[in-house]
Assembly symmetry: C3
Homo-oligomer: 131 residues x 3
């Protein structure tokens, strides 16, 4: 499984930023990772932030923060390559925003402890039927 949460400050709406294409980009990258992330376990969501204070609160700044949580067990090599590549894609996607304003982009990757993880998911059956 792989969860992604994309928080974004709503002053980005004026820049033409929309969260849905960014969620699609993240989910597509995960689907394209050679089966490392079973498609039925991919869940990306956006959180629109209306109240925030950034840096010196001058009102010039914005941020996008991505938090990813997945099960343990992927190799350090895979993680460095995959998430490095994903972050480069996200950065490129946001390049037009970086050109126009002050923006902090961040991404954090965490692993869920297996003993504390509980799952029940019938989306997988849709892919098995289709497969």
């Amino acid at each position: 499984m792989a969860h992604a949460v994309v928080e974004w400050t709503d002053n980005l709406a004026a820049e033409g930023f929309a969260v849905k294409p960014l969620l699609s980009l993240i989910a597509a990258a995960m689907r394209d990772a050679d089966g490392v992330f079973p498609p039925g376990g991919i869940r990306a969501r956006g959180i629109r932030l209306e109240d925030y204070v950034i840096a010196d609160d001058s009102g010039q700044d914005a941020f996008v923060n991505i938090t990813i949580r997945m099960g343990a067990g992927r190799s350090a090599e895979f993680k460095a390559a995959f998430f490095g590549g994903l972050f480069a894609e996200v950065k490129a996607h946001l390049e037009p925003v970086f050109e126009r304003r002050y923006l902090a982009l961040s991404m954090y990757v965490d692993e869920a402890d297996e003993a504390g993880s509980f799952k029940h998911n019938n989306i997988h059956t849709r892919f098995r039927k289709a497969g």
Copy 2:
């Protein structure tokens, strides 16, 4: 203390899903755990998700994701039994939804590091008065 966050995709509203009964179920299970979770420290909240991409973004899928954070110190045996039981209750609660649509249900349990935890809570006094 015990925190629970229940994220849910808003396409579940059409299925008759409401988050409040699920929050009540979680809080009640915690209250019923023989004093392991002091009632004054139980805090469950729902986050309604409006923007999300699931699996292959076919629009057929939904998810409910529960994140629990509590103080360290409960035994591994207690945690396996309690959270296994809680997850079974949540699954049963969502059975009508599972029968009608593709749904990913997940629950993750984390412990807060004591050195990084700060608390001030006068709800406990209400229970001491009542006790």
Copy 3:
């Protein structure tokens, strides 16, 4: 960098609570920490909660929960002093609310794993220009 998320139950709005001054207090404390938190990396946001169950769900209770995430590497001494001081400030800020109602205040401090952290931030350039 330093992220802060302030969740608050919307029954506090009737008490005159507003999240923005609390976000400003947190960001200011970080800016005043002798350069330990570069100003361009400070991001505080509020999450207004509309659905929640607290304690025995009597409807008398409210909560404010602060989650802080920063990079690793600050000393244990600094962290105990800084976050202890910050929490005391937050408590004092909320004193009028504690006097009038049952409120659970909590703050958790986490460190991000360097290997799983990715950043691109041109807010820093604004401070370098100004410096």
